[in-house]
């Protein structure tokens, strides 16, 4: 379902971030336009089979988010290639493209379009989104008047209405008040256990243990270990200690 072949990702970090002509010329003149190679990912290869739930663990800066972005197509790797079969739904950002001046209804369609949903899909799921977000009374109001919790509820409802072949999750999200947090966590878990292929990044080993069948451990851009959840999580805990 997902095949990663020898992925490497290098960032060229200019020692100073030069984005204008003057700085560029000054640095050129001083001969200081030095670039530093930063290897975010090095030679990563693994496969995720259809219907599998795979967890990705690792410390901050290990390259987890970069890897998810590469699989989602947001970044192109410096080396190697990714093959993904089927529709892919990356859940990396809630409420992408929301416009404060538009009503909740208009934002459902705008955000849905940004996430790649079709018009007919959105129309058929519209009622479900409104119902789940519990915002039926405010649906024609511009969201600039919403509280941040209300906006997150709307965003969550739109993001999780999909039924993709591949689901990519950067941390399980729980938004809103206590009641909605429980509701959204339930929904996420039912999405994960619903039979689709899932790639899940989490810092909670407890979540990984309860939801995943396999785990990949990234350490400083390298694939440290991959295999059964218990083995990898155990080794990771040992390593961190």
């Amino acid at each position: 379902m997902i095949t990663l072949n020898d992925i490497s990702m290098n960032f060229t970090l200019a020692t100073d971030h030069v984005t204008n002509l003057k700085e560029f010329l000054v640095h050129m003149a001083k001969g200081k336009l030095a670039f530093r190679e930063f290897k975010a990912l090095e030679n990563i290869s693994f496969t995720v089979n259809k219907g599998e739930v795979v967890g990705i663990i690792g410390a901050n800066g290990a390259g987890k988010s970069t890897l998810l972005k590469i699989i989602s197509g947001i970044m192109t790797p410096t080396k190697g290639n990714v093959e993904v079969k089927g529709t892919i739904s990356p859940m990396l950002e809630l409420g992408a493209g929301f416009d404060p001046d538009l009503s909740a209804r208009e934002n459902i369609f705008l955000n849905g379009a940004v996430l790649g949903y079709s018009k007919s899909f959105l129309q058929s799921k519209y009622d479900e989104i409104v119902e789940f977000s519990e915002l039926a009374d405010f649906i024609e109001n511009p969201i600039r008047n919403f509280s941040s919790g209300m906006i997150m509820r709307l965003a969550f409802a739109i993001a999780t209405v999909v039924d993709p072949d591949v689901l990519i999750i950067d941390e399980i999200l729980s938004v809103g008040d206590a009641h909605f947090q429980k509701k959204s966590e339930r929904r996420m878990k039912s999405m994960i256990t619903g039979g689709t292929t899932v790639l899940l990044v989490s810092h909670s080993l407890e979540q990984i243990r309860s939801l995943c069948q396999r785990t990949v451990w990234l350490n400083k851009g390298r694939l440290q270990m991959a295999g059964r959840v218990e083995d990898v999580c155990g080794a990771y805990e040992e390593f961190e200690r």
Binding site: F11, T12, T19, N20, L21, K22, F24, K69, S72, G73, I74, M75, T76, P90, L92, E93, A96, G97, D99, D101, L102, E106, F109, L110, A113, V114, L115, G116, S118, K119, P142
Partner: protein
Amino acid sequence: MKKNGFINSPITKTAIVMLAYVLIVALFFFATRGALQFGSAKPVIEETRTDQALGEITRNTFYEQYFTVPSDAISGISLSFTTFGREIDDILLISIVDGKTGKILHSEKLSTKVLKDGSMRTIYFSKYVVDIRGKELSLKIASERGIPGKAVAPFRAIATGSTIGELTLNSIKVDGTLSFTIYGRNLVPFTQYYFGLSSLLGILLLVYSIRSDMRIRRGKQVGIVILINYFNKYAFLLTQLVGRDFKTKYKRSILGVLWSLLNPLLMMTVQYIVFSRLFRFEIQNYAVYLLSGIVLFGFMSEATSLSMMSILQNANLINKVFVPKFIYPFSRVLSSSVNFIFAFVSLIIVVLVTGLSFSLNYFFLLYGLLCLILFLIGLSLILSTMMVFFHDTQFLYSIFLQIWFYLTPIFYPEEILPDFVLQLEQFNPMYQFVKFARTIILQGALPDAKSWLYCGVFAIITLLIGILIFNKKQNKFVLYI
């Protein structure tokens, strides 16, 4: 597999595509009514230095100026009249007559109300007078209802030494020459090139569609189908983004959407008042001349300035959601096109108010606008890419826009430019687009074949360069924003 109906069988599909192509080629040819066979207009007789007024043209008098032209067609004339400072309500009958047979080849009616005392008036012929090279012709000016004391008079020209032909009053020879200008056009080998080129394209199209059919039947993917599917997939997102831009623009104002029509109208009024008071150019119908230029240039400057920032401003989205990146500059160009439609409607209102008439040729404006939009997409792709890597682009570009505005004949006539600048203007895309539109709007005529070619070439080349640069750099955007 489901059995396809008649309409979907590959042979029928190819036939439909080819038939549509042939139909478009033929329709276009006939719709231009031979106008494109002629090159650009040049004054072939120019007797513009006026001496003194001749006698009034009344119901009972008419002037005839005999002349021959060294061109294949006549596309317009200029004449100067004096009203002696009076308000005169008359209609002049101006015709081109065959000097030998007396047959009227072309006639125009000119209301004296539009005449300014002593200034030149140009009449553009919607249908050219053809087959006249070297023939003796006469320009006849008569009046419908002028009476002595209530009529206009033409001017005599200062003798230039060249022999033009006799000037007669009621067929009796008088001294001197009429002050007038004849615009002539020469034949260009348009027809041969047009049919040659379109047959070549037709053959390529036929080969491509047959090849595509065979590939589809073998279950392979075809470029054009992929492209169409791609656009279908993102059409919804595009309409949402354009709709967002449009809806939020006037969302919190009282007059709302009405502003989109009111805004260009008011802007036009201000600009017209300023420019017409500040500079007194001898331009016929200055309001329309100025505003057509400003509307097109404004469209260009808005579309490019907005789309230049599109990648940077959507950095958050680009970092988090997968959307083809060209969508961002592209949707900005489309949003500006929506605004342009409203500005254009305002321009049409001005056109109608100033008494210019609509002609069938307005249809061909679509070609000029399509070329302009393609040009803008190309330019936007280039600018938005540059902007990611060099933030100075926006400041340099705003200065560049100013220079570009003053270098393009928007508010001044192109005749005031020195010759070598006018030659260079050929390579100014905005000059070409503006000229294309003005020819149709102001003269009711079709732009010449060269003008069509320039517009098309600028559009395609800029678009290709834009796609190339954007495509090469787009994977690096994420690292720089």
